[in-house]
Amino acid sequence: MMNSESKSIFLHDDEHLVSHKRNNKELENWITHLLFIEKEIRYLKKLCKKNHIEKDYYSLKLELERKELENNKLVSTLKKYNNNLSMWNECEDIACDRLFILEHELYRAKYDRFTATYRNKKELLFNLIT
């Protein structure tokens, strides 16, 4: 993993290094968001629990529990990816850089897919409340 000093962008950094540092920062931001979602789900579940006699709230609570598990799994996957990012330093040409960028995009897709379905559950709950 990179420390905060090594993540800063310096004048002597080449495009490859800038790109690598960027991916690292972006990844950290995804993880921060997912860790926030972890907290948020706890509140949303509590709101459902207050009304668990109603069928809609009960099934939403179950779905949120499933999302909680998916979230934990995704955080672990992204942390593992973060630990392996340093391998990118071995790249010596643009073709290799492209491969790593493509891999990064695959992780972005996973993150986007999860957050989209999670948002959908949250919207359902907000609509039930109002």
Binding site: I9, R22, I101, I129
Partner: protein, 130 residues
Amino acid sequence: MISNSILDKMSANKVLCLKKDLIELQHWQNKLEENHQELDAINRIQKQIIQESEIANRIQKVRRENTLSFASFCKYEQELLKEMEYAHGNYDLTIAKNHEKKRAEFISVEKSFYELKLKFYKRLSNYSIR
């Protein structure tokens, strides 16, 4: 004199970096749009259930920050597209630093949004929502 192949390689690197910036920017813009929709839902619940001016003011403040950042990102998107159009030479540090400024802006707006939501959920958990 710099040969054509070196110039081509420099441009290819620059295009790749700019494309990456645009992908990330698009992600920030989407996230701000989603935040905006969520702020609408939170505001609705606030008006119907919580009815506290402190929360209402905080929602307004975050919504304003969100809108201003969205406008600044749209302007930045135009700058990046223009840079792509005339992509020759190196991806210089001015572009990289500017992107990092935008990232800091995005993280700051996200932080305000997360803080607001935690406060909102804490308040909401005091009320019966049935």
